[in-house]
């Protein structure tokens, strides 16, 4: 019985790893067909990330919002909810943090920076709270409502920037330095990358998710409701309240992700005509990271690394950077078809046993 359980754990860990390998292999095949050298391409990615400080810094920079988005999806998923609205929550978080930084620009840094970060998280929380409430009170499916909330976020942020915070270049003004997460020290360390202090927020968020879910009574409740709403109800838990809470906390993670972009990477927010894509990539990150905080970090690192390293791949091996998106899509495809992979592994290992 124990052996059986161990096998399952090992299997679940194996699936994302195998998926990544298969994704990279398929990517290599595509490169070969088009006539590029896949070895050179992958080599350039690895070399740039690990040997060139600029790309290393940019990879971590790209990880910051991606991991937060992944945590948001994973957290909701642990409670049995599918938060597709991370994208929208991230956008309102972004705008709220930038707006707070500009409006209260006269305040000292010790107040302004935390306030702006909190504003981002709070806006995301509100954007998660609404679909949570709709689900708890009126049984509106969260997938539908969070998708709708994405569009509301997209156009509302654009409207607010255009009418209240407009600056030349279709964007908000730049935030005051006192609210900025950017750092000359980190930039110099990484030869001018946009790496900023936001990674500390990510570390705190990763630990917070783990702590909330596995160490607190609230987290226990959230997980119980996620696994079995019926048994939770019979045990006297308030299922509706937990749904609202889960999507709200999920929104905080997403909102913080937006704040990191606003206060760290860009120092402003542009009027977006389309989604940033970070929120949707967050779904993939959570999926590949098996919805665990540490898994999300690894998956986020992989995707950020591929995206950043893809730029050198283009210059060194001549492979178009779009191919990276194909590889990421393939990895997600393989994770999604985990059933097939599980089946294949089981067959292979059984054959091995019989011999």
């Amino acid at each position: 019985m124990i052996g059986f359980l161990k096998k399952i754990n090992w299997m679940t860990l194996l699936i994302p790893i195998v998926s990544v390998i298969l994704g990279l292999l398929c990517g290599a095949v595509i490169m070969l067909i088009i006539g590029y050298n896949p070895l050179l391409a992958y080599q350039s990615i690895v070399e740039s990330i690990f040997l060139q400080p600029y790309y290393g810094g940019e990879t971590i920079r790209a990880m910051i919002p991606l991991v937060l988005a992944g945590l948001a999806v994973a957290f909701a998923f642990r409670t049995g909810l599918f938060n597709i609205g991370v994208e929208g929550q991230l956008m309102v978080g972004w705008l709220a943090s930038v707006a707070c930084a500009i409006i209260f620009g006269h305040l000292p840094r010790v107040l302004l920076l935390p306030m702006s970060i909190i504003a981002g998280g709070a806006a995301g929380a509100l954007w998660g709270y609404i679909p949570g409430l709709l689900k708890a009170k009126f049984k509106v499916h969260e997938v539908i409502s969070t998708i709708m909330m994405n569009y509301i976020a997209l156009y509302t942020t654009a409207y607010i920037i255009k009418n209240f915070l407009y600056h030349e270049g279709e964007r908000t003004p730049t935030i005051p330095a006192s609210a900025s997460l950017a750092s000359n020290f980190l930039a110099n360390l990484t030869q001018g990358s946009r790496l900023h202090w936001g990674f500390i927020v990510v570390i705190i968020a990763v630990i917070a998710m783990w702590y909330i879910l596995w160490k607190t009574t609230k987290g226990y409740e959230l997980r119980a409701v996620g696994f079995s709403p019926d048994a939770s109800k019979y045990a006297g838990m308030n299922v509706s309240r937990n749904i609202v809470l889960s999507l709200t906390i999920s929104g905080i993670f997403a909102g913080l992700g937006g704040a990191m972009e606003g206060l760290g990477t860009y120092q402003y927010m542009t009027i977006n005509s389309a989604f940033t894509g970070i929120g949707f990539n967050g779904i993939a990150v959570a999926l590949l990271g098996l919805n665990s905080p540490i898994g999300v970090v690894f998956a986020g690192a992989l995707f950020a690394g591929l995206q950043t390293g893809g730029l050198t791949m283009q210059s060194v091996a001549g492979v178009p950077v779009e191919l990276i998106q194909i590889i990421i899509a393939l990895i997600i495809f393989f994770v999604g078809s985990s059933y097939v992979i599980k089946w294949a592994i089981e067959r292979l290992s059984r054959k091995g046993h019989k011999k």
């Binding site: 019985m1 124990i2 059986f4 359980l5 596995w214 160490k215 607190t216 009574t217 609230k218 987290g219 226990y220 409740e221 997980r223 119980a224 696994f227 079995s228 019926d230 048994a231 939770s232 109800k233 019979y234 045990a235 006297g236 838990m237 308030n238």
Partner: protein, 507 residues
């Protein structure tokens, strides 16, 4: 001598377990043969092999002395093997005759010949004494009648070997008696029957011979006339069985549960509980007997705050808990062993340890200031696992991977350990094997001895009669009588459960 069915040395392996290990089953022509064993012993697997749903890894099947290879249920049907499933496969909106001919309809000029179908069904029904009206809709007939429709389905397809899969689980005592008469009639008309069961009583009332299997292995085949219930029971379990009896003196204390003129609606807004009154005292086990669907589930759910009360009052320990939140009711002193242990009693993907504190996780000592005290929880879980004999590698094991009996022990351990003033046990032993049943019965009796009130709801009359200090019979949402188990028997209870009050009056 040739057998109706002979399965020789059947072996069927699933990943990780051997479900059937060298099992031989010989069913003589014209006998009722019991296939007897605990849950998970391999009875269903064996019958699924016979019915063509599984292919055996080893072994041979002979039907009427001829070797047969059964690839699928169609092969089985062609060979005259018919299965009466535990869960009926009937279409409610169709008539009895339509259901019976479905899939093999009599035709005239390529069109369905309903008149002929009705005639055939009527003839079959009369021949075997089944007393079924072919023109009634299935949704309008009783469960016992529906089962007879299932029997007719197999007869219509020409089966002469009938497999009954736990047929009495859904029946009232009266219907069980009728079923036994029908089975004997079928045998008299030349059919052979395999009865899958884990109930001793049925075997001794209905069967000629019995094959006992345990953990996938053949234990023995015996003629019923040569054995006795306790011998068969110990053959099934593999050791001596101690039957738990409620022998503690009946000394009722103060009222713990008071249900006063309770009216509850079901999901279709129909009154399922009507003006129901019920009192359970400390130091007693009150058994609720009744046929499934007479309001038992709704009554319990209303007490537990899981279903809205329309009218009336519910008090626990004198405290009014009508329409309160479930948590508040639990804190007022309710313990609850739910009917559906996997859906309602456990979070299957939680560890045993986590499941042990499902209602108390937020309280001291399991939590301090909102932080779980995992060490305390683990210690408690280990203690309860030991105390309640939960067979598990560790408290970290997921509840999902436990057997049904051990899952139920986890729930009982959790509920009893909280020491609730009122313990509701709904079907606490359904689907469990004898060992686990006796263990759980013992725990319920212990609660009574401690002076707690126990409300036992069960469809098993044996269980109700054996454990209860008083028996309340529920019928169509009302308690129609309360009887003393020492002064009643299954017959009287059966009549009450069918709505007939003492003296033959309709209630």
């Amino acid at each position: 001598m040739s057998y109706a069915i002979e399965m020789r040395h059947i072996r069927k392996e699933f990943p990780g377990i051997v479900a059937n290990d060298d099992i031989t089953l010989q069913v003589e022509e014209g006998e009722i043969h019991a296939l007897f064993g605990e849950n998970g012993a391999g009875k269903s697997t064996l019958m699924n092999v016979l019915f063509g749903l599984y292919q055996p890894d080893q072994g041979e099947i002979y039907v009427h002395g001829k070797k047969a290879v059964i690839h699928d249920p169609n092969d089985a049907t062609r060979l005259g093997i018919g299965m009466v499933h535990q869960h009926f496969m009937l279409i409610d909106k169709f008539t009895v005759a339509e259901n019976i001919v479905l899939g093999k309809e009599p035709k005239k000029h390529g069109l369905l010949d309903m008149a002929k179908a009705v005639k055939i069904v009527k003839e079959l029904s009369e021949k075997y004494g089944l007393d079924v009206d072919p023109n009634q809709k299935v949704e309008d007939i009783t469960v016992g009648m529906q089962q007879r429709v299932e029997i007719l389905k197999t007869l219509y397809r020409g089966s002469d070997i009938l497999i009954f899969d736990e047929p009495t689980a859904v029946l009232t005592p009266l219907e069980i008696q009728e079923l036994i008469v029908i089975m004997k009639r079928l045998v008299k008309e030349g059919k052979s029957i395999i009865l899958i069961t884990h109930k001793l009583k049925e075997i001794f009332e209905a069967c000629d011979r019995c094959t006992v299997i345990r953990r996938g292995k053949n234990i023995d085949s015996v003629a019923i006339s040569d054995t006795n219930p306790s011998e068969l029971a110990s053959m099934m379990v593999g050791r001596k069985v101690n039957v738990q009896v409620n022998d503690a003196p009946y000394e009722p204390k103060e009222k713990v549960l008071e249900v006063d003129h309770l009216t509850v609606l079901d999901s279709r807004k129909v009154n399922v509980i009507k003006e129901l009154n019920l009192t359970v005292h400390g130091g007693e086990i009150l058994g609720i007997a009744g046929v499934d669907g007479n309001g038992q589930t709704e009554l319990i759910e209303a007490i537990a705050g899981l279903r809205k009360v329309k009218n009336g009052r519910i008090k626990i320990n004198g405290q009014d808990v009508t329409n309160q939140k479930t948590r508040k009711i639990i804190e007022a002193g309710l313990g609850y062993i739910p009917e559906d242990r996997q859906k309602h009693g456990l979070v299957l993907d939680f560890s045993i340890g986590e499941n042990m504190v499902l209602q108390t996780y937020y309280k001291k000592p399991y939590a301090q200031l909102g932080i779980l005290q995992n060490k305390v929880i683990t210690k408690k879980a280990k203690q309860l696992i030991q105390e309640f004999d939960v067979r598990t590698p560790s408290e970290k094991t997921l509840a999902r991977s436990l057997s049904g009996g051990n899952q139920q022990k986890v729930i009982v351990a959790r509920e009893v350990d909280r020491s609730p003033e009122l313990l509701i046990a709904a079907q606490p032993t359904r689907g469990l094997d004898i060992g686990a049943i006796e263990f759980i019965h013992g725990k319920l009796i212990d609660e009574k001895k401690k002076g707690k009130a126990v409300l036992l709801v069960s469809f098993e009359l044996d269980e109700i009669l054996r454990l209860s200090d008083r028996i309340a019979v529920i019928y169509e949402g009302n308690i129609i009588d309360i009887v003393n188990p020492k002064e009643t028997d299954e017959n009287e209870l059966g009549l009450l459960m069918a709505g007939r009050k003492k003296g033959g009056n309709q209630a």
